[in-house]
């Protein structure tokens, strides 16, 4: 069985806020849910499947009750920022199996305003917590080793931020709208070697939501048709200490499986949403997904190759997490939303990819240098 073509993304909504001290987290979930339902042209009572993750206050029954939903399918998969890309696939599976017909996926939170509680410790905690792994140094360790093994440079990584900033200048909601140069990035303060401040993403309040539905329902609605044709997920950790290799991500497994299911190759992709918690995150995933060979990511991203209208692979045309939005420190949702905008032809005209009929949304969640989950979605516009 395949999910190819079994589910369509009929509704998308990205909250315009980047700072929400005046709202509750549950309220933000409700606002993005309402936005996505209205975008699809549906009503709340049409929702019969709900997908939420660790950012939803109280988890499953409090959120279903708060939103006033009546569902027959629920999924609370939590793989950090990739949760929503994973749940897109899970929603397609549930729809294909007849377990629900209109799935709602929400993400929302306020990391800029209030503290995000830590997750419960795993079996590794006593052997790792004391060493102070954070997002910055965990990704820093990947970048350090990638540079050692492949000669990747800070200037090459900087091109990823430069490309994102070129796109963000056209997004009125972007947190950072200023176009930056390679020099700006490499001269910004070092946070955790070799990552500078401008190698990092923004921290924002806000959220987003999706409506995923069956082909029949999608075709009865008014939005351009965007369907999921390939999907996969994978996880990677330090492998119990054996053959440690931090230069690749679990995308090496999720990517090829998703492409195989879709029956397309990286060369066919017109637009790429790639999770960009840090510049190194993008570079490693481009390699792992097969857009270039392992170790050649630095050369691939240099000279504006990721800038829409300039390079071969337009990426994160909303400005991405690096410049626009990274709600709840979980970037997967906005990756899907911008891919759908591109496929609908609803991206900003300055960054809209012409004849964009095939896109990828890919992300990782957790810490790339410690333990993480990757998910890849291949999306297609249907004429």
């Amino acid at each position: 069985m395949t999910i190819k073509g079994k589910a369509y993304i009929a509704g998308i909504y990205e909250h315009p806020t980047r700072h929400a001290p005046d709202k509750s987290i549950a309220q933000l979930h409700a606002e993005v849910a309402k936005g996505a339902i209205e975008d699809a042209g549906l009503s709340k009572d049409d929702i019969d499947g709900y997908f939420l993750s660790g950012d939803a206050p109280g988890g499953t029954w409090p959120m279903v009750d708060y939103l006033g939903l009546k569902v027959r399918h629920i999924d609370s998969t939590d793989t950090g920022g990739s949760s929503y890309i994973i749940q897109l696939g899970h929603a397609a599976e549930a729809i294909a199996a007849g377990k629900c017909s209109v799935a709602l996926i929400t993400l929302a939170g306020k990391p800029r305003t209030s503290h995000t509680p830590p997750r419960a410790p795993g079996a590794e905690a006593d052997f790792e917590t004391a060493y102070g792994a954070t997002t910055h140094n965990a990704y820093g360790m990947c970048a350090m080793r990638h540079m050692h093994d492949y000669g990747t440079t800070s200037e090459q990584l900087a091109w990823i931020k430069v490309a994102a900033s070129h796109h963000a200048q056209y997004n009125p909601h972007a947190m950072l709208k200023e176009v930056v140069t390679v020099e700006d990035v490499v001269n910004s303060p070092m946070i955790s070697d070799p990552l500078h401040r401008l190698d990092c993403c923004v921290v924002t309040d806000g959220g987003g939501a999706l409506i995923v539905t069956s082909p029949e329902i999608a075709k009865s609605l008014k939005k351009p048709l965007v369907r999921l044709i390939g999907h996969s997920e994978a996880m990677k950790g330090p492998n119990s200490g054996r053959n440690l290799d931090l230069t690749y991500s679990a995308g090496v497994w999720s990517g090829p499986r998703a492409f195989e299911e879709a029956g397309v190759t990286p060369r066919d992709i017109k637009y790429a949403s790639i999770y960009d918690s840090f510049t190194i995150t993008v570079l490693m995933q481009l390699e792992d997904l097969g857009f270039c060979k392992k170790g050649e990511g630095g050369r691939f991203v240099a000279d504006g190759n990721l800038i829409s209208g300039v390079g071969k692979l337009p990426f994160n045309t909303d400005g991405g997490g690096l410049c626009s939005n990274h709600p709840v420190n979980r970037g997967g949702m906005t990756k899907i939303i911008e891919a759908v905008r591109q496929l609908r032809g609803e991206a900003h005209p300055k960054v809209q990819v012409r004849n964009c009929d095939l896109a990828i949304a890919h992300g990782t969640g957790g810490l790339l240098g410690v333990r993480h989950a990757a998910s890849t979605a291949i999306l297609e516009r249907v004429q």
Binding site: A123, E124, A125, D126, F127, E128, T129, A130, Y131, G132, A133, T134, H136, N137, A138, G140, M141, C142, A143, M144, R145, H148, P189, M190, I191, S192, D193, P194, L195, P238, S240, G241, R242, L244, L246, G369, V370
Partner: protein
């Protein structure tokens, strides 16, 4: 800047022998007698072949830096997180301590040092 206080490990039946050995200054890894592979952190069931025939083995405490990242600022000052690869095979997450953190290199040889907590000590590494 406050003095660095490391959290005491919460000892459970599976890991108690590791922490008992740590109190005696010994870094223990687990080796599977079925597949021969060593792993870290220690588990009762081998994460490679799923055999329950795992045994404790003392590490030499000699290692090389696989990768590291120097966090420039924190409430307790700069610190260097790292993965080091033990001579016996497994790699583990740690900090490199008690040295000029600006001089660290991938491939550098390091050796085990212990840092005290209110419970069992924790393994760290310093240039050899």
């Amino acid at each position: 800047m406050s003095e660095k206080v490391y959290p005491a490990p919460v000892i459970n039946p599976e890991t108690a022998p590791f922490w008992d050995a740590a109190k005696a200054g010994k870094l223990m890894i687990k080796r599977c007698t079925a597949c021969g592979e060593a792993h870290y952190f220690p588990r009762s069931i081998c994460p490679f072949c799923f055999s329950d025939q795992t045994v404790w083995e003392e590490s030499s405490g000699e290692a090389t830096i696989y990768t590291f990242s120097l966090m420039r600022k924190s409430p307790t000052g700069p610190y260097a997180i790292a993965y080091v690869t033990l001579r016996e095979g497994p790699s583990l997450q740690t900090n490199i301590v008690d040295c000029d953190l600006g001089q660290l290199k991938i491939g550098q040889e390091v050796k085990l040092v212990w840092k005290q907590t209110s419970g069992a000590p924790l393994p760290f590494f310093t240039p050899a």
